[in-house]
C-alpha cells in the first residue's frame, strides 16, 4: 500500500500542477490574448484606491476570469459525478449523462427559463439551479423506475443504459419542443442547454457551482471507503458495516446535485464523467478516495483544455464546448474500451 499511496499522491500533485498550467493558458488566450503584465495590471486594478479598470481589464475580470473558474468547477463536478456513478454501479461504462441526470437537469433549467419569463417568476440566484436539480431528480428517478426488473426490483446495467438512452432522447426532444414554441431570442438561449457552453459564465454562477462542487466532493470523499467496500458486492459491503441503502441514496443525491447545478449554468457537457475516472483508474488503481479527488482535478483540467480549444479554434467566434468534449471524448473512450477488455 505504502508504495502505491506514494504513486497516487505523486499523481495527484502532478495533476494539480497540470491543472494550474492549463488554467494559466486559459486565462491568457482567447478572443483577446492577455500578456502576463496585463493580467497583473487587471488584478491590481481591483485593489482599493486604483483607477477604474479599462475596457480590456473589465473583459478580463468579468468575462475571462469567471469563465475559467466556472470551467474548473464544472469539470470537477462532472468528473466527480462520473466517479461516483461508476463506483455505485460497479461498472466503468456509466456516467451522469447516460442515466438521464444531465438531460433532465437541462430540461428543468430550460423549462424554468421559459415559464419564469411567461409567469414572471422571481429569479433569485438559486432558483435556476434548483429547477435543474428537480429536473435531474425526475429524470434519474424515471430511469431507475423504468429500468428495474419486475421480478427482483434490481436494474441490470444494460437495462439502465438503454432506459437512459430513451429518457435522454425524451428530455432532449422536450427541450427541442420548448425552443420551438419559444420566441426567437429565448429560443436561442434554450438550445444553449442542449449543446453545452461556458459562454454564459458569471461570478454569480461561479459562486453557486463552487458551493455544490465543494460540498458534493467533500461528502463523496467521506463515503469513499464505503464505495470501496461496495466493489466486492452489496452483501459483502454490508458485512463490512456499510448501510448499502443509505449509501446508494447519498451517492445518487450527491451526483444529482453536483451534475444538475453544473448543467444549469453550462448545459449538457457529455463524456467528461465517463472518460475521466477511466483514465485515472488506469494510472493509479481503483481506490475511490484517489478516484474522487483525481477525477475532480482531471475533470477540471480537461474541461479547461476543451474550453480553450472551443475558444481558439474559431477565433473570434467559439464552439459550444459540448461539441468539443464529445468530439474528443468519444474516440478516447472507444480507444480505452478496446485496449482494456471489460465484461459487463
Amino acid at each position: 500500500m505504502t508504495k502505491q499511496t506514494w504513486t497516487r499522491r505523486g499523481l495527484l500533485v502532478a495533476l494539480s500542477f497540470a491543472t494550474l498550467l492549463v488554467l494559466a493558458a486559459s486565462i491568457r488566450y482567447g478572443a483577446i490574448d492577455f500578456s502576463i503584465p496585463a493580467i497583473g495590471r487587471a488584478l491590481v486594478s481591483l485593489l482599493p484606491g486604483q483607477p477604474e479598470p479599462t475596457l480590456d481589464q473589465r473583459i478580463f475580470l468579468e468575462l475571462r476570469l469567471p469563465r475559467a473558474a466556472l470551467c474548473l468547477l464544472v469539470g470537477a463536478s462532472l468528473g466527480v459525478g462520473g466517479a461516483l456513478m461508476q463506483a455505485l454501479f460497479r461498472n466503468p461504462i456509466v456516467e451522469p449523462g447516460l442515466v438521464g441526470t444531465s438531460s433532465g437537469a437541462a430540461f428543468g433549467s430550460a423549462l424554468f427559463f421559459v415559464l419564469g419569463g411567461a409567469l414572471h417568476l422571481g429569479s433569485s440566484l438559486w432558483s435556476l439551479p434548483l429547477a435543474a436539480c428537480l429536473g435531474g431528480v425526475v429524470s434519474t428517478y424515471l430511469v431507475f423506475l423504468l429500468a428495474r426488473s419486475r421480478e427482483d426490483g434490481r436494474a441490470s446495467i444494460v437495462m439502465l443504459l438503454l432506459t437512459g438512452l430513451a429518457v435522454n432522447a425524451l428530455f432532449m426532444s422536450a427541450i427541442g419542443f420548448l425552443s420551438y414554441i419559444a420566441r426567437d431570442p429565448q429560443a436561442r438561449s434554450i438550445t444553449f442547454w442542449s449543446l453545452g457552453t461556458l459562454s454564459g459564465a458569471s461570478w454569480r454562477a461561479v459562486e453557486v457551482v463552487a458551493v455544490s462542487t465543494v460540498a458534493g466532493t467533500a461528502v463523496a470523499l467521506r463515503y469513499a471507503k464505503q464505495l470501496n467496500a461496495l466493489m466486492i458486492g452489496e452483501e459483502e459491503a454490508t458485512y463490512l458495516g456499510v448501510n448499502v441503502n443509505r449509501l446508494k441514496w447519498v451517492i445518487l443525491s450527491v451526483n444529482v446535485v453536483v451534475v444538475a447545478v453544473a448543467t444549469a449554468f453550462t448545459g449538457v457537457i457529455g463524456f467528461v464523467g465517463l472518460v475521466v475516472p477511466h483514465i485515472l483508474r488506469m494510472m493509479g488503481g481503483a481506490d475511490n478516495r484517489f478516484l474522487i479527488l483525481g477525477s475532480a482535478l482531471t475533470g477540471a483540467m480537461l474541461l479547461s483544455l476543451a474550453d480553450l480549444l472551443a475558444r481558439l479554434s474559431l477565433r473570434p467566434a467559439e464552439l459550444p464546448i459540448g461539441i468539443v468534449t464529445s468530439a474528443v471524448g468519444v474516440p478516447v473512450f472507444l480507444l480505452l474500451l478496446r485496449r482494456r477488455q471489460y465484461v459487463f
Binding site: K3, N228, I232, G233, T238, V242, A286
Partner: protein, 265 residues
Amino acid sequence: MLEARDITFRVGGRALVSGVSASFEPGRLHLIIGPNGAGKSTLVKLLARLLRPHEGRVVYEGEDVRHAGEAELAKRRAVLSQLIEVAFPLTVREVVMMGRYPHFGGRPGAADEEIVDELMKFFDVSEFAGRNYQTLSGGERQRVNFARVLAQVWRPVSAEATARPRCRYLFLDEPLTFLDIRHQIEFMKKVRSFSGAPDVVAVGVVHDLNLAARFADQIVLLDRGRVAAAGPLAEVLTAERIREVFGVEPTFVPVEQSGVHLIFD
C-alpha cells in the same frame, strides 16, 4: 454465546427457515449440514444479521441483534462467502485491507497494516500483495478473501470501560464450494485453529458430511427449514437420520483422524 430463538424466515409465503432454535458456544466450531434447500445458507445469513427473521430473535450474548448498528456489528462479526468478484482492478493488499474498514475512520492505522501483513502471511498470499485480484485463480482468490474476513475479527474486541469482554463471530457461508480438496482441508484447519479461541463463535455451512465429521465440534442438521438434530457428531449423524434426511444409505468406517468416515450408497 450466539442463540437463535425460534426464528422463522419466509420468502413469498414459503418458510425457508421455520421455528429454528439453536445455541452456539464460543471456542468451538459449529457446522450446519443438510440436503439442498434445507435452509442452511439462509440460517447463516439470519445468524449473521444480513437477513432479519420474521419471527423469533437472534441473540448475541444476551442482546437481540435486530437493531444493532451495521458499523458497530462489523467490528465483531465477519462472514466468508463463496467466490467473490471485484468490480474494478484492486490489489490483493487492498482487498485484504477491506477487512479492517470497520476499524478505522479515514486511513488505516499501524495496527491495521500489521494485521493485514500478518494475515497475508498466514494465508500465504504475501508474495502477490501487489497483484491485481482479478488476475488470481479461484483458490488464490478465496485465500485472499479468507485473509480479508479474518482480518476483520483477528484481534479480540477491545473491552470498553462499561462493557464486559465481547465475543467475535465468524460465519462461513459455504466457503468451500469451487475449491479443490487440498484447499478445503487447509481452510478447515485454519478455521479450526481460529475457532478454538475462547471468545470466538464460529458457525459454518459445509456440504461434505465427511468434512463436517472431521472438523466440527458441534453439528446442526437441518431438514426442510427445521432442526432435525443438533449436538456432537456421534449423536447427530446416526445411520437412521442420514437415511431419513439425505435419503442415502451410510456405512461408517472407523478411521484414526476423525473417528469415523462415511461411505454412501
